[in-house]
């Protein structure tokens, strides 16, 4: 079983290279794959007909209980034979039909891919594996419908089919998952019908599974994709959209009939939907002017009837199901292929233009005649038996059955009319008006229809053959209990025969009155509007319009709207968090430290400066107020006994002002403050106040409780003995939590790298010649005296920086602060003497310094690794009692990175400004 799928899949892979070399002759070779599989399945017939099943299983996703379990029983075998048998003929046919097409290889690949998927679908016993193949048939069908991809109609139809069957597939997935959970097994053969029927989820499972099956099998109201799918090349229509894929839905219903079919709702839904679909399909069929579309709608009809038959669950109904399935596959595939041949030979499929073709295409005509008889349900063809059993099955149901039978008589009469259109209208009568002169098609194109049409006759005339080898085992697989199967052409004068006679009479009269009939039908405008594509188009348009409305909410391109939304969301979630976690007991401060005057002053200055910056129009004032705010921060930190933080804040503030000053020179004045509209202004104020209030509240609640844990104490106690440093903050930075610092200098380095490129005006470094744009010193520092003063000052600063670096482990300072001070020194030099001089003084390019600093910091961490200790573990030596260790080396790395990054940005900026 698996080998047969594999064989076809292999042929799929080989299709493109083969077709590239052999053109349409590749078809003969490729057809061997499905033929081989067909023969394989033929050899399985004795086992299966004898009531046996063949199973094989491969593990797939054990964690989910999904396995590639395959099971060949009567139903699978019936489908497998149809798929591979008709598949062989189609591959042959397609080679001739598309012989001129430059994408023939792709076509074969898709077709064979579909075949493998379809085969997997009907053989799979695992629910999920079946679904996998199910979806694959949808995808390959999409590719095939869109095969003539330069036509907008093809693309639209393909998309429609994909969305409808894909959407149904998703419902099916949910249904299968529930089914597996409820039914106690992930295999069709293991599902417990009792457990499912009794479960509260039964209706949900039923609905979901039915949506999946109905979309795939084009039941009302999902039928509209199928006629549109006729945009595909005819071999595809013949194969996928009549003989096989569309029957996947019906197959699934049949497969699940034993597990799900016991309820009244099953029967009611299936019969109602099936019968309605059949009738609508038949009515729509005879309205068509294109022969292929006629066939497409009759396929809808047949799918409806098959669904309906499964719903009856009567002995005759289930037999009729199996018989009709085969009969239809035979004659419909034959008719489709023949229509394709007509199209191929005459250049048209328009009924009005056809006539008298039997003279030009006798072989095709003969095949069509046989197929059309079977289609029309005339004895002794297989289609006749199907129709007889169908009526018998319905009548078994009682009153509801009689009503349905009446509908079916009408439907089947219309089908007969359609069959008449195909054969009588096209092949008999007067000569048609053809775009080019008709001719008989080649062997690969008539052999398929011929064999299938003869098959329909043989199975009808020698129905014992079909009964024993195929139908019996299939019916047993579908039914909930054993069904006695016995096929016959003549069953005596039964109500079914009466219905049959009525059908033929009605059908013939319909055909004779077809012009008037069609005129009558076209009066029912409303109906065509409802069943047409318009709803689909309108639906899609609505969906897209809605989607656009949603997208516009987020694609306004306004940063301020983005910020407002973001901030409000943050405040909202924070509030939820606050209330959800603290509930009612919002505690009032339990801890309250006395107010420190310097800290108070710092706070006031920080807020006042910021507030002023928020409303100040001028650039200079803006920088000044912001600086004041930063100063306030530093003051607070100092008052809170955090000298390192305070110094860092001050140095950062200094450099911030320098950068601002340099950049602002080139920016236009910022006279305007806030928003233009007062309403927006108010809204923004509300946003700001809300987030401020929420943060303040969270903050207050956090700090007004005592701080749990002893971590702070531990750091204080272990700094000197463990980290060899008296400055606990610095020891944390370079030792206890040095990994943070490593990340931090990386941030500084990356920001330096990135900002430098932007500040230098997006200039590509490799484009600028070395030295280009180098400055000769700023005019503001023009005084010689000043310059003379700056050099020693810078030297002093550099010295201070080194000192800060060195002593930082024990006193305020460290790599950061040192690096920032050193950067300031270099900035002074660059401003006074120009960047050329500054670069010369530095000797090392800033970028190399940056990279080197990062490297040194990392290497300092590696030392520990070499000793088998974790990364960044401190290693100390004590030459002459002086503690030297890797944390100090790490701090040097920090120093260099900070210095390198700041200089890289600043020098680039200055050179650009020059």
């Amino acid at each position: 079983m698996l080998a047969s799928i594999g064989l076809i899949a292999f042929a799929m892979l080989a299709a493109v290279p083969l077709a590239a070399r052999l053109d349409q002759r590749a078809g003969w070779l490729l057809a061997l794959a499905p033929l081989g599989a067909f023969i394989h399945f033929l050899t399985q017939m004795p086992t299966v007909a004898g009531g046996g099943v063949i199973e094989s299983t491969l593990a797939w996703v054990p964690a989910l209980g999904v396995e590639l379990a395959f099971r060949l029983d009567g139903l699978s075998l019936l489908f497998a034979l149809l798929i591979t048998g008709i598949g062989t003929l189609i591959v042959l046919y397609a080679g001739a039909y598309l012989s001129e097409h430059h994408h023939l290889g792709r076509f074969y690949a898709y077709l064979l891919g579909f075949m493998a998927a379809m085969l997997g679908l009907v053989l799979a016993d695992d629910l999920i594996a079946m679904f996998v193949f199910w979806e694959l048939t949808s995808v390959t069908s999409f590719l095939l419908i869109a095969f003539q991809h330069d036509k907008a109609e093809s693309r639209r139809s393909a998309l429609q089919a994909l969305l409808i069957t894909g959407g149904g597939g998703l419902a099916l997935l949910a249904g299968l998952i529930l089914l597996g959970n409820v039914g106690g097994s992930w295999q069709f053969s293991g599902l417990s019908a009792q457990a499912i029927a009794d479960h509260a989820l039964y209706p949900a499972i039923l609905v979901l599974v039915l949506i999946g099956a109905f979309t795939k099998s084009a039941q009302l109201p999902f039928h509209l994709w199928l006629p549109n799918a006729m945009a595909a090349p005819t071999p595809v229509s013949a194969y996928l959209h009549s003989a096989t894929m569309v029957k996947a839905g019906v197959y699934l219903l049949a497969r699940l009939n034993p597990a799900l079919g016991g309820s009244t709702s099953w029967g009611t839904i299936l019969i109602t939907v099936g019968a309605a679909t059949a009738l609508v399909g038949a009515v729509l069929a005879i309205r068509q002017t294109d022969l292929k579309r006629v066939l497409a709608y009759t396929t809808v009809t047949v799918l409806g009837q098959l669904t309906m038959l499964l719903g009856t669950n009567t002995h005759y109904g289930l037999q009729a199901f199996a018989i009709y399935l085969v009969a239809h596959a035979f004659y419909k595939a034959a008719l489709f292929m023949a229509v394709g041949s007509i199209d191929h030979a005459t250049g048209t499929r328009q009924i009005a233009l056809l006539g008298g073709l039997i003279r030009h295409m006798p072989l095709t005509g003969f095949a069509v005649a046989l197929a059309a008889f079977s289609n029309a349900g005339l004895p002794p063809f297989f289609g006749f038996i199907a129709k007889e059993f169908k009526y018998a099955g319905l009548i078994e149901l009682g009153l509801a059955g009689w009503v349905t039978t009446a509908v079916m008589i009408l439907t089947n009469a219309l089908l007969l009319t359609a069959a008449g259109l195909v054969f009588v209208r096209a092949f008999l009568g007067r000569e048609g008006r053809y775009p080019h002169p008709p001719h008989e098609v080649g062997v690969p194109m008539w052999i398929g229809p011929m064999l299938l049409a003869i098959g329909g006759f043989v199975f009808g005339a020698f129905n014992n053959l079909a009964e024993v080898w195929l139908i019996d085992a299939a019916v047993q697989a579908v039914s909930r209990a054993t069904v006695p199967v016995s096929l016959y052409l003549w069953g005596g004068f039964t109500p079914a025969l009466l219905a049959s006679l009525l059908t033929v009479a009605l059908g013939v009269s319909f055909y004779l009155q077809r012009t008037r009939l069609r005129r009558r039908l076209s009066l029912w405008r409303v109906l065509w509007r409802v069943s047409g594509d318009r709803i689909w188009d309108r639906l899609l348009k609505r969906v897209f319009a809605f989607a656009t409305r949603v997208a516009d909410r987020f694609q306004h391109g306004s940063l301020r709207q983005h910020i407002s939304a973001l901030v409000l969301a943050i405040a909202g979630f924070a509030l939820i968090g606050l209330f959800a976690s603290t509930g009612e007991d919002l505690a009032w401060p339990a801890v309250s430290s006395p107010v420190n005057l310097a800290a108070l002053l710092g706070c006031v200055l920080a807020v006042a400066g910021a507030a002023a910056a928020a409303v100040t129009p001028g650039r200079v004032a803006l920088v000044a107020t912001l600086g004041a705010s930063g100063l306030g921060m530093a003051m607070f930190f100092l008052a809170a006994r955090a000298p390192d933080v305070a110094i860092t804040q001050l140095m950062v503030e200094t450099l911030t002002v320098i950068f601002l000053a340099l950049v602002l020179r080139r920016l236009p004045p910022t006279r305007l403050v806030g928003s233009r509209k007062p309403a927006a202004k108010r809204f923004h104020a509300v946003v700001a106040i809300v987030i401020g209030a929420v943060v303040a509240a969270m903050m207050l609640m956090t700090v007004s409780q005592p701080l749990p844990g002893e971590i702070a104490r531990w750091y204080l106690d272990n700094s000197l003995p463990g980290g060899q440093g008296a400055n606990v903050v610095n020891v944390i930075l370079v030792d206890f939590r040095a990994l943070d610092t490593l990340g931090e200098i990386l941030v500084v380095g990356l920001a330096g790298l990135a900002a430098a490129g932007l500040l230098a005006g997006g200039r590509r470094e490799d484009e600028a010649a070395p030295g280009a744009g180098a400055t000769e010193g700023s005019a503001d520092f023009g005084s010689v005296l000043l310059r003379q003063g700056i050099l020693p000052l810078s030297a002093l600063l550099a010295l201070v920086a080194l000192m800060l670096l060195w002593r930082g482990h024990n006193l305020p300072g460290g790599g950061f602060i040192g690096g920032l001070v050193a950067a300031s020194a270099a900035v002074l030099v660059a401003l006074a003497f120009g960047t050329t001089r500054a670069r010369a003084l530095l000797r090392v390019p800033p970028l190399a310094m940056l990279a080197g600093g990062l490297g040194i910091a990392a290497v300092a961490g590696l030392v520990g690794l070499f000793h088998g200790e974790p990364f960044l573990t401190g290693n100390w030596i004590f030459p002459a009692g002086l503690p030297l260790g890797t944390p100090l080396l790490f701090d040097v790395g920090v120093f260099l990175t900070v210095l390198g990054a700041v200089l890289h940005m600043l020098l680039g900026l200055l050179e650009r400004e020059a």
Partner: protein
């Protein structure tokens, strides 16, 4: 072992330094960069190999015991994330070797990518809240720099939005980290988890965690705070946007998963909220995508929608659901990066990334069509590709947990995803090029890009067909997440002074 744990940080860091030092020689930069990314991949795979055996590796940086020193910890999820980061990083670097008309090919690209990778990997392996903040900053500043690479009006405009909104997010993270410390007295995730489980933390610690999760949600691009993503991803240079699309939001997702499973292992109100957020994210994202008419904008909105799936797994919080989230993460990174790559190639061949101005690729570049079809169908959850399993597990987990609406939304999102993907397929591939065959451009110099794309597509197929082992790994990873005791234990045992 200590070296192995820290290798995801050190390898890209060393590569960054080396590429900076040899920057005069572009070939050397590219070679070192690729070697570094491959080494990172190798390290990640070794970690996966170790983690697969159920070990949780932990190391205390500096040799200081938790909570004083910083914990580095690698469990199954972390290991997988590091490996996948290496893979996507390598693919990006290979892709960037292709010839391109974009002026972004400057020397800074390679060092910046590795800087970003340090941040990403750091976020995946750290076990310390503040350290996580630092790595977030590293990847953030790396992403700023990469986003703006090459300049141009549009790119700069997108960068402004990206930078400002992400800065707000990162400030909130910092605030939350500070408050969490202020409330609980610790920054170590494992020990905090212990304290949370024992009920030893004040209520405000929970509030701080909520604020922190909000910050992660911004990073992960969840509804309603995803606005920055579709406003900026489409302006970057192709390899950059692919790298972002693959990795960045997933760091946020990872952080959400890590924090929620550690601090709130049992389903509660947070999970309830997350469930609604996840549903809204899936739907809004996919609807937003349906409205787009440019390839990368479609894909960007889909990132949002798919992050919703992952959060769905987190919200449902059963082991199966978490396994779904993990599987989704792994699958999505590969697929999404690849789609951005392919979108870039398609734009390069057709001269535009507006669907209306594209076309003709199916006839002109069938190999590209195949390469697109694989990740696109995977994204839409078509079996047997990787995305199907991801979606299947999550839908199953939702149904098992009786989260009917969530399952419905997840399925509905699937069909819309299929719609978007087939829209790209129909417009860019099937439709003839509006300017005729003359509108198509040369494929010269694209070879490295195709290698990258092919490798990732092969991975997607492999994850789908051999879903068994990957799913086993995801399930085992989810078991570790669902029972954080082992994680905590590993950190405690890591020891130190």
């Amino acid at each position: 072992m200590n070296a192995l744990i820290v290798s995801p940080l050190l390898i890209p860091l060393a590569t960054l330094v080396a590429t900076l030092l040899v920057r005069r020689d572009p070939r050397a930069v590219a070679a070192i960069s690729l070697a570094g990314a491959l080494a990172l991949t190798a390290a990640g795979l070794v970690l996966v190999g170790l983690a697969a055996q159920g070990q949780i590796l932990a190391s205390q940086a500096g040799g200081w015991a938790a909570p004083y020193g910083i914990t580095l910890v690698v469990d199954r999820l972390s290991a997988a994330m590091v490996a996948i980061t290496g893979i996507v990083g390598s693919a990006t670097i290979v892709f960037a070797m292709a010839r391109d008309e974009d002026p972004a090919r400057c020397r800074d690209f390679h060092p910046l990518v590795h800087g970003l990778l340090v941040g990403v990997c750091g976020a995946f392996i750290t076990g310390d809240v503040f350290n996580l903040y630092v790595w977030f900053e590293v990847l953030l500043v790396g992403s700023f720099a990469l986003l703006v690479l090459g300049g141009g009006r549009r790119r700069l405009s997108g960068t402004v939005v990206y930078v400002v909104l992400n800065l707000v997010a990162t400030m909130m993270f910092l605030l939350a980290a500070g408050m969490l410390y202020g409330a609980s007295g610790s920054l170590n995730m494992a020990l905090l988890a212990q304290a949370f489980a024992a009920g030893e933390v004040p209520a405000t610690a929970h509030a701080a965690v909520v604020l922190m999760l909000t910050a992660f949600s911004i990073k992960a691009a969840l509804f309603p705070v995803f606005g920055w993503l579709p406003a900026s991803y489409h302006v970057a240079w192709t390899p950059v946007s692919a790298l972002f699309a693959g990795l960045l939001t997933k760091v946020g997702v990872y952080a959400l998963i890590r924090i929620v499973t550690l601090f709130w292992p049992d389903a509660g109100i947070a999970h309830e909220v997350l469930l609604w957020v996840a549903c809204a994210t899936m739907l809004i994202g996919v609807l937003g995508a349906a409205a787009q008419v440019e390839v990368r904008r479609i894909l960007s909105f889909h990132i949002v929608s798919q992050v919703g799936y992952m959060i769905l797994g987190l919200a449902i919080a059963t082991p199966l659901a978490l396994a779904g989230a993990v599987f989704y993460l792994i699958h999505h990174i590969v697929v999404k990066a690849n789609l951005f790559f392919i979108g870039g190639i398609a734009a390069r061949l057709t001269g535009s990334e507006r669907l209306a101005a594209m076309g003709g690729l199916y006839a002109r570049a069938p190999w590209l069509a195949l390469l697109f079809a694989i990740p696109a169908l995977s994204l839409a959850g078509i079996p047997p590709l990787s995305g199907f399993w991801a979606k299947f597990v999550l839908v199953k987990a939702s149904l098992d947990a009786s989260a009917w609406i969530a399952a419905g939304v997840a399925l509905l999102t699937g069909i819309f995803t299929l719609l978007s993907m087939s829209k790209i397929w129909n417009e860019a591939f099937l439709k003839p090029h509006p300017a005729g065959t003359a509108g198509m451009r040369s494929t010269a110099g694209l070879r490295p890009a195709l290698w990258a794309v092919t490798a990732l597509a092969a991975m997607t197929v492999a994850i789908g067909l051999a879903a068994g082992p990957v799913m086993d790994y995801a399930v085992a990873a989810a078991e570790q997440l669902a029972a954080p005791a082992a994680y905590i234990d590993a950190v405690v045992r890591a020891g130190g002074h």
